[in-house]
Symmetry: C2
Subunit: 356 residues, 2 copies
């Protein structure tokens, strides 16, 4: 038998009272005289009483655990997310069980099932791109882009893109290359769409999708950014600090000085953004706030279930939607445009990138 401290019965016995009374005293729901209650609490404390979650769960039907499912834990943003959620959940008295769906959508469903089998009360899912999460039989909060149907909480990526675009615009950039890893991602589309919108019609934007495939050693993995620079692009705006690093590094190596000759921007404020020379101008999500909102929404839903009769269904769509602002972090990788460019009246109208 593993470590199991004293149970309710032991402490009841040692005080000559009933377990019901001990339970009532400890849960502080009144019904027990102040004097006895104090005595019980003291003894429980002394005996190092720790309630059995199993017993409680069996009785109440609640495990006090929230599941966190991630499309891919290896996501560099994951630490921030997990930390924020773990914090918010434990503040609220909940534990966090993780499940990683390592890419594939089928695995995502498996991950969800695993969590469900463990009896999580609710879950937070950060879905794989383009995946749709239906009703799951427990409250679900989706953290994704506001453009994702069923999204519950998220940073406002479009708004953030707008701010980033405006920053670039104010610096005089009129020809910017947009870099992202794929157009299936709502998050990325929103970010880029916002940037493009803020830059306005007088600006020329091109989008370069960077494949995720890792190049072999020796193989050329250049993005040809120097060529874009030569064509007059003065800013390279990306959907992630990782891409920004790639751009920054490639440009620098090609002898283009950042930020005096070209500006580079990222997203997410990863640790690396503070460590490059120059440090990256980026956009930070308020993850703690997002996590707090997601957890709060879930718990409210749970409490509702307690009181009311059966909810019609716990599809994520019904969850309260909330958007959290992102914060522009201006560091050293952006600067005013120095070279004077001929104004190029190029009409650009990228397909399907309008805000939903």
């Amino acid at each position: 038998m593993p470590r199991s401290g004293p149970r309710l019965s032991r402490i009841a016995q040692s005080l000559g009272v009933s377990v019901a009374t001990v339970s009532n005293a400890l849960s502080g729901k009144g019904r027990v005289s102040a004097e006895l209650s104090a005595r019980i609490k003291k003894t429980a404390e002394e005996m190092g009483y720790v309630p059995s979650q199993a017993g409680r769960a069996l009785r109440t039907g609640r495990t006090g655990v929230i599941g966190l499912v991630l499309a891919d834990i290896a996501n560099p943003l994951f630490p921030q997310i997990a930390q924020a959620i773990e914090f918010a959940a434990s503040e609220a008295g909940y534990g966090v069980l993780i499940a990683d769906s390592r890419g594939a959508s089928s695995l995502q469903m498996e991950a969800i099932d695993r969590l469900l089998e463990r009896g999580v009360d609710a879950m937070i899912v950060i879905p794989r791109r383009g995946t749709r999460i239906g009703a799951l039989g427990c409250p679900v909060a989706l953290i994704d882009s506001p453009s994702t149907p069923g999204n519950s909480v998220s940073a406002d990526h479009w708004e953030a893109g707008l701010a980033m675009g405006q920053h670039l615009r104010e610096l005089g950039h009129r020809k910017v290359l947009l870099l992202g890893s794929g157009s299936e991602s709502n998050v990325q589309n929103d970010r880029l769409g916002g940037i493009r919108a803020a830059l306005g019609k007088e600006a020329v934007c091109e989008t370069l999708w960077i494949a995720h495939r890792k190049p072999r050693n020796g193989e050329d993995f250049s993005l040809g950014l120097a060529g874009y620079y030569a064509r007059g692009f003065t800013a390279f705006a990306t959907t992630s600090d990782l891409h920004a690093l790639r751009a920054l590094s490639e440009l620098q190596r090609a002898g283009i000085s950042i930020p005096s000759q070209a500006s580079v921007t990222g997203f997410d404020d990863l640790a690396l953004a503070e460590v490059t020379s120059p440090r990256l101008t980026t956009m930070r999500m308020d993850m703690p706030r997002i996590a707090e909102l997601a957890v709060k929404a879930l718990i409210e839903r749970l409490d509702l279930q307690d009181v009311g009769e059966r909810m019609p269904s716990s599809s994520p769509v019904e969850a309260a939607q909330a958007k959290v602002a992102m914060q522009l972090v201006v560091r050293d990788s952006t600067a005013p445009v120095t070279r004077s460019l001929p104004y190029q009246a190029i009409q650009e109208n990228p397909a399907g990138e309008l805000r939903p």
Copy 2:
């Protein structure tokens, strides 16, 4: 009442057998005729039966959950670790509950307690630097440096340092600057110690500890690496890819070409290592293997407890110790020394950096 599928009793009832029989059939422990067993399994499947972990936990005293406590989830290596552990654990039928101790040692103990209260069967802790984990009342596997007392599983950081040092040595580097974030970390000391040992007596090594404090905007956060280069250092070996990035970036910006003029190496093979130009030569841990060993050790211990009488105590020290080799990933940031340096017979003997 939240989502609760059919219980054992429902399926027993619908088949006109006892719950005991259903339980026996489903757990596959024999005792039930093949024919009935098959019928039961089929019905359970059809009815979408999912066993209640709470009931099982209450009865067996096991939750089937392993706790994962991290010194700081925001650690860039965390994704790899968490992913590997989640995978190993779920393969073994266990769930993973996370707890973050956000730095402070006191919070580390709190995080552990939180997990204990949730009734985890065992835990894996990646301790904060210089922290010591005592007996906890449940099996514990420590993942740290082998130099840490009580360590259970880890990469062999010294060995890895040796390999990295040898790589540099073979390239002709005899004057290398070592960069790490602090000497309290056994992991870092091991890595650097190994590098130094491989470089041997003829090499000159200096160590530069990089404070973790973040510089304000505008503030100079240069490490003065160009100065070291000027003094004849040809290689910059760091304890982490993040530091390597910082070195690479600073050197490049100072106009020093990598790898033709100086080599830079990292550790951990973070995502960023593949994205810089040149890409970083680094050292990869076999996290899946480490996770697998840690989980396996824990489960063996748990099974032992099942059979044998009370274990004397579950201090981590008793856990099987295992070292996992790291793998050198040679990419483009290292190259043979080109400038010819006068041989400098400088005696170096840094204090307290010997292998324990």
